[in-house]
């Protein structure tokens, strides 16, 4: 598949979604370029997580378009209309996108290593040897080599989240989505996870991170985006975003966080 590198990896055009009567996404427009780290912040209920989950189709958006690597997500265009794609195609589209959850969601009935090799073997068809080799390399990278045979219940939150990141990376995604990755962690362990995410960012992975960690966003993001009431209110590089020239509303929001 040929993609021109200067095209954005992720393109969201006027994306809308409602849950029953409530409109959660009210026209989201966003672009994320290859290798870019984007942090999304905002009050709860602003639609940040929902938007993220629309990208890998854990939620279905009803209007607008989302493109990942030039491919329309969740729909196909036919005669000027958008028709939902089949389940099989949904599954294929998810393979290239990795997600890290707030609650880690490691498969508790498998060891850490088994968690990591599961999808590469079953979905990508890798051999046991290849998948295991990759897994050990990834565990080394996130600092969990010693815990390969441990079960998730025996790990701390930070260790579980690092294992979850390794699991997502094992699929060799071109886009990584982080849905409040440190919100469920206590301050001591938050640091170890943030450093893994930093390291990942420095390797050139395209990342979209929903987070409350302002300091981290300032440090690692290429661009920060504020979402409110289902729309993007403000986006800027971190220096501008957190500076004194920021709009009043943004400042007000930031002050509530700190």
């Amino acid at each position: 598949m040929s993609t021109e590198n200067h095209q954005p990896l992720v393109r969201a055009i006027d994306v809308r979604k409602r849950f029953g009567d409530a409109e959660v996404l009210c026209g989201v427009n966003l672009e994320v370029h290859r290798g870019e780290v984007l942090c999304i912040i905002g009050p709860s209920g602003s639609g940040k997580s929902t938007f993220l989950r629309c990208i890998n189709q854990l939620e279905v958006y009803q209007a607008g378009k989302i493109f990942v690597n030039g491919e329309l997500i969740g729909y196909k265009e036919a005669g000027g209309r958008l028709l939902p794609i089949s389940n099989r195609q949904v599954v294929l589209q998810r393979r290239r996108i990795g997600m890290v959850f707030q609650q880690f969601n490691l498969f508790w009935h498998m060891t850490v290593r088994e968690n990591i090799i599961e999808a590469p073997i079953r979905v990508l068809g890798q051999s046991q040897a290849q998948a295991n080799e990759n897994a050990m390399r990834l565990l080394e990278r996130v600092g969990l080599s010693a815990k390969a045979e441990a079960y998730p219940m025996k790990l701390s939150g930070g260790q579980q989240q690092r294992a979850a990141i390794a699991r997502a990376l094992a699929m060799n995604p071109e886009l990584m989505l982080f849905d409040e990755p440190t919100s469920a962690l206590d301050p001591e362990t938050t640091g170890e996870v943030l450093s893994v995410i930093s390291e990942l960012a420095s390797t050139g992975m395209t990342m979209m991170i929903v987070t409350h960690e302002m300091g981290f966003a300032r440090q690692v993001a290429d661009r920060v985006v504020l979402m409110e009431d289902g729309q993007i209110r403000h986006e800027a590089p971190p220096d501008q975003f957190f500076s004194d020239q920021a709009p009043v509303r943004l400042k007000a929001f930031l002050s509530t966080i700190h």
Binding site: V91, A119, M153
Partner: protein
């Protein structure tokens, strides 16, 4: 009248061939009824979660109906009631050289129907116990619905379902005694017959009670080993093999759960 110890021990050590056959019937009824009941439970349990309202209602009705009737009534209804009404009559059936009498078939099917209603609820609860996050994580990794079901939902649901299933089997071993009422020559019926001829009622009842105790004790150990193996994810010592499982199960205090923050 004192307790005839000699008679008691004689019956334990030397029960006689008819009694051994009866014991075989007790065990085989329990096993067959549980397997068939599990099958019914899976179908009805999944059915309760179906997206089709009609299927959900039908399965819900089955559970409500069967859980509202005593097992004994169900057994007699199947065996005598249906025949008396001209609806259906069980007949003896030979399968691979083994004779399955009408009453045996009715007993197994009746016990299975009863167990199925309870298994359905256990299965439904097991499926619903699988956290949504687990399924979302599996999906986000690009796993197909089939893979999600077989690699995540079923293994996790199984761990929730096995303990109550094991308890039901323990229960079933003893419930088979009700089959005596519809004429299955299992150990309780034989005990009653021997009581009438020998008048050693208390000794004989003690023997049969001991038989049930031994059967359930054996099963409890098997169940414990299986459960220990399935709880590998929360036990400190490794339980990768059945032998390890057995050792851990038998060691007092080892199966307590130690969780990290």
């Amino acid at each position: 009248m004192g307790f005839d110890w000699a008679f008691f021990f004689e019956r334990i050590v030397n029960p006689g061939t008819p009694y051994i056959h009866a014991l075989g019937r007790t065990v085989s009824m329990a096993i067959l009824a549980m397997l068939l009941g599990l099958l019914i439970g899976l179908v009805v349990g999944f059915g309760r979660l179906s997206r089709y309202g009609l299927v959900r209602s039908a399965c819900g009705f089955y559970v409500w109906l069967i859980r509202g009737i005593p097992v004994l009534v169900l057994l007699v209804m199947l065996f005598s009631g249906m025949a008396a009404a001209g609806l259906f009559r069980f007949t003896d059936f030979e399968f691979a050289g083994i004779k399955l009498t009408a009453s045996f078939q009715a007993a197994v099917i009746g016990l299975a129907i009863h167990e199925g209603a309870y298994m359905a609820e256990i299965v439904r609860n097991g499926i619903q116990a699988v956290a949504r996050g687990q399924i979302e994580a599996a999906r986000s990794l690009g796993m197909s619905p089939w893979l999600v079901t077989w690699r995540i939902v079923i293994p996790q649901a199984t761990r929730v379902v096995v303990p109550p299933f094991g308890n039901d089997f323990n229960h079933m071993l003893k419930t088979t005694s009700l089959a005596s009422v519809i004429g299955v020559p299992e150990i309780f019926q034989l005990t009653e017959a021997m009581s009438a001829t020998t008048f050693k009622t208390f000794e004989l009842l003690s023997v049969v009670a001991l038989n049930y105790l031994v059967l359930t004790a054996i099963w409890n150990t098997v169940q414990g080993v299986i459960e220990t193996r399935l709880r590998a994810h929360e036990i400190d010592r490794p339980v990768r093999s059945w032998w390890q499982s057995f050792v851990v199960y038998m060691t007092p205090g080892m199966t307590s759960v130690e969780r990290r923050a």
